[in-house]
Amino acid sequence: MQISSAKAEVERLATTGVPVELLIEGAQPYVLARGLDTPAPPWDSASRDILIPVPLAYDLGTGLDGFYIALPYRFEGGEHNRVNGQTVKVGGREWRGVSWHYPDGKPFRPSVDNIESHIVHCRGFFLHRGAVNARN
């Protein structure tokens, strides 16, 4: 119970070749998704790892929201204005929160969306939309 469906999703994704794993840090579960394609430039690397906090009530129909980016990183030689959250140490690495949320009226749909679709949503940050946001 609690995050058994998250565990099952991660296992399923992993068996299909998606590089994900579940980490628990101080009772808080996270999904570590490795190697998301990121355009370089503006990013300093062509791939990047992210960390997604999983609510303990995930099995009860909660949504996912936001993510952390592995540190250090550079965007256009500096900081991205949406990478403005607190830092956290998980799995022996440092991560920083990214303010990247679902738009009003298009929330995470618990019975439709899942970890895989949330990773796709997070990728949006590194692609065009995230880059445009950074300049606004």
Binding site: Q2, A57, L60, G61, F108
Partner: protein, 483 residues
Amino acid sequence: MPGINLRIADRAWERLRKHCAPSFKGRRDTEFGAIGVLGRRDGPDGKLRELVVAEILWPEAGDVVSRPRQALTFSSRYMRRAHMLGRKRGLAGIITFHTHPTAENEVGFSIYDDGQDPLLMENLQELYAETWLSSVVLGAASQQGRLWTSPADCTMLASLIAVGDRLRYLPLDGKPPRPAPAPSEIFDRALAMTGSGALALLADMTIVIIGASGTGSLVCELLARAGCRRIIVIDHDIVKLANLNRILYATAEDARLKRAKVDVLKRGIEGLGLGCEIIPIRGSVLDDAVLRKLNGADLIFGCVDKDYPRMLLCKYAYQHLVPYIDVGAEIGGDKEGIVSTDARVNYVAPGRWCLRCTGLVTPRRLAFESLTAAERQRKIALGYSDDLLLKQPAVMDLNMRAASAGVMLLRHLLQPFLLEPLPVTLAENLVTYNMKALPAAKAATHSCNICQVNSFAGFADCGEKIGLDTDTAAALIETDDDR
């Protein structure tokens, strides 16, 4: 309730009675029956308290062999289907129901039943040693039930508890319900509203209240004054000056000495001399070890202002087929000011919508609340959770309306007097002087894994663990700094 009871969803019980009704019409010479699978519910002492009917496998053609004036037999295929389903799902055993068509008032197992049940038990335990067999014989106006834990060990069951839009307690001793004893002088003025049968049930029930603050302490007081004699109160918090004005019986001294809310409530309610015992439990229902204490209860009152415990209570209610009344107060507002002040009651039970489907619990709030306190703080720092930090109103005059409506609903469940069907949500908007009976679940999902397709419904303790381990729960319980 004393003895070992049998718990069943009211819809399943109604359907079973309907399925068996031909036995009691016309020539009244043919037995009818069906087989179900059983979960078990152990009390806090670890002893079996209740059997729970998880599912009835309605017979298909050839499953039941029944000829006039002969005893019914279940086909071995039907029996195997039930047994294998129970084993596959990790359930406690199977239950057979059959009728005795000529049993008008009283009913009892026949000599044939007494010979067959131990043989069946022996066969079942040869297949799987851990399995149990329960059997219920139905008369026109009564039923008798028993449990076999081995071919030689048989225990008679006490009551059948049917939970749904109503809450029915039926004796399983083979006799029709008997008139209840007159209530004691303290409670007899309630007879105009709640009959002696319902008052006797209330006196025998153990009710658990989650939350001992503004609403919970009021519900506790109302239940004690209604004649409930055993209440379990669960809350992890202590009395503070900030909540002194809304916890009944709490004093400044209690706040200074940091006394647990549950202990203060025990002192106050038991001091009334109404004969009501309060069992205080200091802890959070997020913690599975605390949540399991609900196994000692017949009905749950949820008086919390958080969505996560509400959803765990919903999950518990469907898995254990236990009725859950959620009471609370909500204030709604816009730029113009307050537009609604709702004193609200929701009733969760088999066949009814859960609090997520009613829209009371939102996925966003649930997600936020079920992050650890540290992760929640990081989320708050991002600034996208400000609306989730709004406090629910803590106003006694409003809480009282909700507590009152919740206890009235309990009276109705024991002896119906409210207009039926019961609404999904009953809310009194004090701004508009309007009582709203909301008939629809505004966020209803027919694939909801809590109330619609819960794969552990009726499994009770044979189902999955519902709460968190103690350390994880502790990591979630918010600190004062959180708000």
